[in-house]
Subunit: 108 residues, 2 copies
DNA sequence: CAGTTAATTAACTTTTTGGTTTAATAACGT
DNA sequence: ACGTTATTAAACCAAAAAGTTAATTAACTG
């Protein structure tokens, strides 16, 4: 669920903003060319994904970034991190093959 | 676009499979309880996101995992990686505050 | 208490996504 | 040339996502 919450650019921008510190819903909404209601919904998505939490301070709901799910994404990436080093090795190996007269197209 | 491609569990499973080596479309489709056409579409999404590339070998299109976009996700996470260490510090600081008689609820 | 500010809920619309089935394309095997 | 295998394209559908406006809730301010 984390990754689908992160799929939306507005939500990523909100997280980026929150990385600099807490902010209320209307503060978070301000930069965007959309209704406050829309932003409020984005926040709910982020909240359900555990990426933010909301406090209450009078009529404000100060939002705070929660790092746990991001850390999970990082963990998920772990397996591929290993892979992309391998991949570089393979590319190198392939480059060598080419020198020796390889034929199949692996452009891109 | 990478993150929305990664948002779907079927597509993540496909990537996991591809991390173990190349596979044709039908091989990739086999584990899933959905039509081959559906899987083919997922592959197109992954391809457009640059997460995989397809070769051609006779009537097969061997798919290969491409690490670049994943590395970009990793880079994107970088800013937050720093944050989640800070966050742990804050939690510690807060725990200390509680000991001293803090009042506001920050459960979860 | 009346009015204002902050945020959410409800009802609705539009677009995107994830799936289907039925063709079409392309390369192989006989 | 004909049938089979692998994959994609087209047309379609249902459900989810992303947005809207109008109404509601809640807490502050004078």
């Amino acid at each position: 669920m984390t990754l689908s919450a992160l799929a939306d650019p507005t939500r990523r921008a909100i997280l980026a903003r929150l990385a600099t510190g807490e902010a209320s819903v209307s503060e978070l909404a301000e930069p965007f060319d959309m209704s406050l209601v829309a932003v409020s919904k984005h926040l709910k998505v982020l909240e359900k994904a555990g990426l933010i939490s909301k406090g209450r301070e009078a009529q404000w709901r100060p939002c705070r970034l929660e790092a746990k799910p991001l850390r999970q994404v990082d963990d998920w990436l772990e397996s591929y991190r290993q892979f992309w080093n391998d991949n570089l090795d393979r590319l190198e190996a392939y480059a060598t093959l080419l020198q020796q007269g390889g034929t199949d197209d692996r452009s891109k």
